[in-house]
């Protein structure tokens, strides 16, 4: 049976654990603490939690003020609000002065499901990574989320971290291990999950587990795929991406985001300047989502292992 956990749940648990040892941590929410799971922190540390009601713009700038006094501020809401609804507030009051605010946005992508377009978000990675001084992180599973929360506390400056609503398969073992091998989470370091020689699948967020499924199928067909988990989209681990691109000669990116400006965009920017290998983007093809179950939506919008398999074969075919 596949072990599953929602990254947002892991976030809520991590905040409580870290809140016990670091009293600089202050957590803010905008009437979604039950959903973003910051409610766990709110219950244990009511003096360091503030709910601002449905007012994201105010929340972002309050976060800036708290951070200017030495607090490590986590501000949470859904990705669609954390990015678009309060973009200028993040830009001017947080990114520009490089304040220590961690915007942790849950309900990224279309896996949000039945709530539909208004509560899904396919564009946040592109928007947030365009901002100077802003780091963008998308953990692959609940275990990596906990490591990421720990790491960004020690990483000074603005961070945008994107999490998901549904429970998704765990890739790592408890304590951030891979096949029994302990790993160390470092902001900005891509994690090579599998070595391979024919194509590299560069994935982020919930698409990492789809990539692993795809690689297993490809292997049966005699195709050897390397898998790279890019948990930090900015700063991007450019050297690791260039290296693996040169080694395998073809790249597929996979993200639960628009193919415009997200992981695919970021990888394409690096490759076009450093290693011109064939590359195919798996992602949402410039469309909004709709209401439906998570799995129906991922299938309709081309975000499954078969989509990655098909893209991998096309990329390999494009090799000269």
């Amino acid at each position: 049976m596949i072990r599953k956990a929602a990254t947002r749940e892991a976030y809520g648990e991590a905040l409580v654990e870290l809140g016990r040892v670091d009293n600089r941590i202050v957590v803010l929410d905008a009437d979604l603490s039950t959903s973003t799971r910051t409610i766990l922190f709110a219950k244990e540390f009511p003096d360091r939690f503030f709910n601002f009601g449905i007012a994201e713009a105010n929340m972002m700038c309050v976060a800036a003020g708290l951070a200017s006094c030495g607090k490590v501020v986590f501000a949470s809401t859904f990705a669609v609000f954390a990015s678009g609804r309060a973009y200028n507030q993040f830009r001017t009051s947080i990114a520009y002065p490089q304040l220590n605010v961690k915007v942790v946005a849950t309900h990224g992508g279309i896996s949000v499901g039945e709530d539909g377009v208004t509560h899904q978000c396919v564009e946040d990675i592109a928007m947030m990574r365009a901002l100077p001084h802003t780091n963008v992180i998308v953990p692959a599973d609940g275990i990596e989320t906990k490591e990421a929360v720990k790491a960004i506390i020690e990483w000074p400056g603005p961070v945008y971290m994107r999490l998901s609503r549904p429970a998704t398969p765990l890739i790592y073992e408890e304590g951030y291990k891979l096949n029994g091998r302990p790993l160390r989470y470092k902001v900005g370091d891509a994690v090579k999950l599998m070595e391979g020689k024919d194509v590299t699948i560069v994935a982020t967020g919930i698409m990492v587990s789809e990539a692993l499924t795809a690689a297993a199928s490809l292997e049966k067909e005699g195709i050897s795929a390397a898998i790279m988990n890019v948990h930090t989209i900015k700063p991007l681990d450019e050297s690791a991406i260039v290296k693996t691109a040169k080694e395998t000669g073809a790249v597929v990116t996979a993200e639960e985001h628009s193919i415009l400006g997200g992981l695919g965009g970021a990888v394409a920017e690096v490759l076009v300047e450093n290693a011109q290998v064939p590359m195919i983007r798996v992602g949402i093809r410039d469309a909004f989502g709709e209401s439906g179950t998570t799995s129906e939506l991922l299938m309709k919008y081309g975000l499954t292992a078969p989509d990655i398999i098909e893209a991998s074969k096309r990329a390999i075919k494009m090799k000269k």
Partner: protein, 287 residues
């Protein structure tokens, strides 16, 4: 050490006269720096010059030699375009030399077109996109509450600025959290970029709006130094709710041909106009 800590001094004639002299000096420098820059917002800087003077040279506890002093009072210029007044006050207090003012808006200057907290010592928040500074000030006030600090936080708002919905989000939140270490000051000069506030976006009844949002309101003449000083003290004594000083001001205050003129919201004086304006201020200083 050069800590400014005059808050407890009585508001006698001597104090008021001294502050009025400083306000004239700030007005002079506001006009010179914006003309040298060739752009900027002199009108709203002049309307807030007396308020900024009362804060920096009487009411705020701050130390220009140690701008990051943990216990300092904090001033957030929410109406960031009014920064010439803030820069003039910071220079006059000793945060940086007066000469620096003449680099305003020029490449490489520590004095950006709108305030930058990382470039300018003494600037507490990067502002300029209107509507955000009151929220930032609220965050600073809440940090003071968590840390049990005694400092107070001040936010200066423009009247055009309060068109922004975020101001009212912050107003609601400050009242909800019973924040009483925060004083907002509204520079009610009646003019915004496109014209009179009453024509562009009606604010009245503005005092009632703040009361309805749970704030204690103090209304004053924003160019009467003693009234400003008294109001700042009264605001400090309000408990379990935030206080706002609604300061009735005149855009371009202090220069006859600038007063009440929309065009000086965002236009610097020409060299010729500057000469005339400085003469007026000089006469005022001699009287």
């Amino acid at each position: 050490m050069t800590i400014f800590d005059d808050k407890r001094r009585p508001h006698d004639d001597e104090v008021v006269a001294k502050l009025n002299r400083i306000a004239l000096e700030l007005r002079r420098n506001i006009l010179i720096m914006t003309t040298k820059a060739g752009s900027g917002h002199p009108g709203g800087s002049l309307s807030s010059a007396d308020i900024v003077t009362a804060l920096y040279f009487h009411h705020l506890r701050h130390d220009p030699e140690n701008p990051k002093w943990e216990d300092r009072d904090r001033f957030v210029l929410s109406k960031g375009h009014g920064c010439p007044a803030l820069y003039a006050a910071l220079a006059e207090s000793g945060y940086f030399p007066e000469d620096t003012l003449w680099t305003l808006r020029k490449m490489g200057s520590i004095l950006q077109g709108h305030p930058d907290m990382n470039k300018t010592p003494g600037v507490e928040a990067s502002t300029g996109n209107l509507g955000q500074g009151l929220s930032v000030a609220l965050g600073i006030a809440l940090a003071g509450r968590i840390d049990r600090k005694k400092y107070r936080v001040f936010a200066l708002l423009g009247d055009g600025e309060i068109d922004e919905g975020q101001i009212w989000e912050a107003a609601m939140a400050a009242a909800h959290y019973k924040v009483d270490n925060l004083t907002a000051i509204l520079d009610l000069n009646g003019i915004q970029l496109d014209g009179l506030t009453k024509d562009i976006m009606s604010l009245e009844p503005v005092a009632d709006k703040w009361r309805a949002f749970g704030w204690h309101v103090i209304e004053i003449d924003g160019h009467n130094m003693r009234e400003i000083l008294d109001a700042l003290d009264r605001a400090e004594h309000v408990k379990y709710m935030p206080a706002i000083v609604i300061a009735h001001t005149v855009k371009g205050k202090g220069v006859s041909f600038m007063e009440g003129q929309v065009k000086f919201h965002g236009t610097a004086l020409t060299e010729e106009q500057l000469v005339k304006a400085l003469e007026e201020l000089k006469l005022e200083a001699e009287n």
